[in-house]
Amino acid sequence: MACPHLEYREADEERTFETARAYCTAVDAFVQPMRADICNDRYELDHTTDCEFYRNAER
């Protein structure tokens, strides 16, 4: 199951993209594509163990 802090957005206050991109509501920022794989629990990744943003937000 994807991270509860993950949203897909086309824009924030500063930038607009043609395609919706992974946005982390825990840090209020678009995230790197590699980090988006963690947000989505793809491959062997798990946001509950692998993401410091999630872990810090859940403390």
Partner: protein, 280 residues
């Protein structure tokens, strides 16, 4: 390789690492993500002096993809527009081993492919393991498909792994051995001239080496690579800036490396020169 190789004036192979798999357009609007954008950048880099292009594939939204199909679409776009030596990445933090083989399975096979020689840390809680088993299985498939490995040495321990692999499996990697020495933060090699000299001094006999500095280290380590008879990798995968505060394009970074090589009186390799130097 050494300063004597510099004095010999052999051509410098410039590899353009256009996009990578870590950051995307959230980091720089100049970073190409789609096959069309990457082919555009490859064409501009070839004109600027690149002879090898290092490729990662992405999904429609810029996120990572390791699938054969996405690499096929990408490599076709680049091959239609350039004569560059095509190098596919097999890197993939968090991706299962079987998926890491997918970029080797395009038709035609890539001319080269990266081979990460050991573990490296990512973020706060991740490690890209790159076990010996995975490294060997990737090298075996490269050998079967006639793909030249680019052995990526992120630190001194990885150079031990190069020697260990060559000793244990002398059948696996054809000469000339080709390594990329990687300098920066984290688990990459310390970005100092002393570290650079040490790694170069301990390369296997006859190795051709490529030099990669992350971020602000890209330019000075390109210079070191050129002066010590090696080759150079530049591009937005590794460094987003032309100078402090000014974002770069891939072609600008290649053009600067080419100018540096020519200023130091080493010619810039054409794609055919690169094929001859690397025996592709």
């Amino acid at each position: 390789m050494s300063y004597d190789d510099y004095l010999a004036g052999d051509p410098v192979v410039i590899t353009a690492a256009l996009t990578g798999g870590v950051h995307g357009k959230e980091a720089s609007p100049h970073l190409p993500e789609t096959p069309e954008e990457i082919a555009d950048a490859a064409e501009a880099c070839e004109a600027a002096g690149a002879s090898v292009v290092h490729l990662h594939a992405r999904r429609e939204n810029g996120e990572r993809s390791f699938s054969r199909e996405r690499f096929q679409e990408l490599t076709e776009a680049v091959r239609e527009r350039t004569d560059l030596v095509v190098q596919h990445s097999t890197g993939g933090t968090g991706a299962p081993d079987d998926i890491r083989h997918e970029p080797l399975r395009t038709d035609p096979a890539p001319d080269m492919a990266s081979l990460d020689m050991g573990p490296l840390n990512r973020y706060q809680h991740l490690t890209s393991e790159n076990t010996r088993g995975l490294v060997e299985s990737l090298a075996e498939e490269m050998r079967e498909r006639g793909i030249k490995p680019e052995m990526e040495v992120f630190n001194g321990g990885h150079l031990n792994e190069v020697h260990e692999l060559l000793d244990r499996r002398p059948d696996l990697i054809e000469e000339p051995i080709y390594t990329t020495l990687i300098f920066g933060g984290g688990t990459t090699a310390m970005p100092t001239p002393d570290t650079f000299r040490s790694l170069v001094n301990h390369l296997p006999e006859g190795t051709q080496f490529n030099t990669l500095g992350f971020g602000q280290h890209q330019l000075p380590f390109a210079a070191l690579g050129i002066v010590f008879g090696g080759h150079v990798r530049v591009g937005l995968e590794d460094n987003r800036y032309f100078r402090r505060g000014k974002l770069a394009t891939n072609a600008q970074l290649v053009e600067r490396a080419a100018t540096l090589a020519e200023t130091l009186e080493r010619p810039v390799a054409t794609p055919d020169d690169a094929r001859e130097i690397l025996d592709i």
